[in-house]
Amino acid sequence: MQLKIIKLNTEILGIGGNILLALEALNNRKKNELIYFKFNNFLYSNQFNLWDKFFAQPFAEYTDVIEKKIKKKNFIIEYAQIKKNSALNYVGNNYQILMDPKIIEPLRAKFKKYIIFNDFLKKKFLIFKSRYLKKRTISVHLRGTDRFRVGAHFENQRNNFDFLSTIKPSIIKNINKFNIEKIFLATDDEQYLKKMKQEFKKKIIKLNSTIYSQADGVHFAGIWECETHKNKLATEAILDSIIMSNCNYSLLSQSNISIMTLLMRNDYNYDFLDKHMKSTPYVKVKAL
């Protein structure tokens, strides 16, 4: 068996992007190939392999073989990347692809088989589920903050993702349609959080504690944080995604976290709030 080490050194890619890169590598895996992830992402950890912190390696049952091969330097290295035409590349994508079972189902099968969350994440999710996910819930992912920054995929497009004209009507429509009692809100944007709280008040359930102003965001303001805070950011992002996938219906944004969410679902009860928005395709995103 050949060992392939998938490497990633990044300071701008979010946790969702990391998982999608891993999934792409697993999707392109040849027969009899062992895959080992070595992701250095300093948005979420200052010192450690991100994969080992939050996930189990996909071929954990071959740990001894992998260790021996690493010792003997009998491996090949590949740098993680998503191909332009991949379904996992949301930039400039046709949304029908993300609703197409022929494309999504094989990816979901791979996700369930190989992307295994560490026990502490599972425990945290079960605690949250037992406390808050008892009623019919809709999950809303509002990706704001730095995605509207200069150089980002949706540069200066905050006006196209307006709360009153775009987000609110869509949420109300789905609340009535699915007889929803609670709204799980996944956002780190101060402005959207404020408006959602004003509008839906006690219906809102929220997990993540880190909130950024309009221009900031984890990709900008979180870079120099300490290890504990970075780990917390990653944990909350992953948990947000798991919880969203367990809600009755999901309203998503064009974001890697949202794609991760739909890959964890068993149904097609989701829609994108910002499907009218066009991103700058394949732009080289700069964090700083």
């Binding site: 950890s45 880190t210 900008f220 870079i223 944080e225 300490c226 700083l288």
Partner: protein, 210 residues
């Protein structure tokens, strides 16, 4: 004689102060690093990491300059390098405190500046009869060391400085140095300054040798 000494004194002082201010007034530090950490959860930890980074850079520069010193000493027996061995690492370490002062924007930075300029004047008055480059460099090394000590005691209430080996393998080090160096060399004034400092050093070495 006194005119030559004053000129030499001011020249060395100018080189040291310009190099420090170029490090501190880096575009990356002021316009990207400071805004990013403005609302951070643990500023003390960030500055502790930054201190460790500058401390590490100081040690690396000591090692680097020692190697150069021992290689050159075979051909040019010049003791000036011996003081540079301590002067450059101390300038690097001093820059950390200057960066921190800028972040605080308090009158404390003025106090530190005032005390260090007083030290420069005292040093000049004591040694103005000696036309000796080694002595000037030695004096400046001592002054910068004193400036670091003064800065530490003035700012210590706001800082928790602990030297830790864990910070050596921190990913932030690489990213900070990469961005810092990129913006440092992007400035035209840095390039001009570096070319000038190199030529002045060469002239001094040549004058001392022949």
């Amino acid at each position: 004689m006194t005119l030559v000494l004053t000129a030499n004194f001011l020249l060395v002082l100018l080189i040291i102060e310009i190099s420090k201010s170029l490090m501190v007034n880096n575009y990356f530090v002021n316009n990207l690093f400071f805004p990013a950490i403005k609302n951070s959860s643990n500023k003390k930890e960030i500055f502790n990491w930054l201190f460790n980074l500058f401390f590490l850079c100081s040690i690396i520069s000591i090692i680097f300059i020692s190697i150069i010193y021992f290689l050159i000493f075979v051909f040019i027996k010049n003791f000036l390098f011996l003081f540079l061995l301590f002067l450059i690492p101390l300038i690097i370490l001093n820059s950390f405190f200057m960066i921190y002062q800028k972040f605080l924007r308090r009158e404390k930075s003025m106090l530190i500046k005032f005390s260090s300029s007083t030290l420069y004047i005292i040093f000049f008055i004591i040694f103005f009869n000696y036309k000796n480059y080694d002595l000037i460099i030695f004096g400046f090394t001592v002054i910068i060391l004193l400036e670091i000590i003064i800065s530490y005691f003035i700012l210590k209430n706001k800082l928790t400085l602990k030297i830790s080996g864990n910070y050596a393998k921190d990913f932030r080090n690489y990213y900070f140095v990469k961005k810092f160096t990129k913006f440092f060399f992007k400035l035209q004034i840095t390039k001009i300054f570096l070319v000038n400092i190199a030529s002045i050093t060469l002239i001094i070495i040549m004058l001392k040798t022949y």
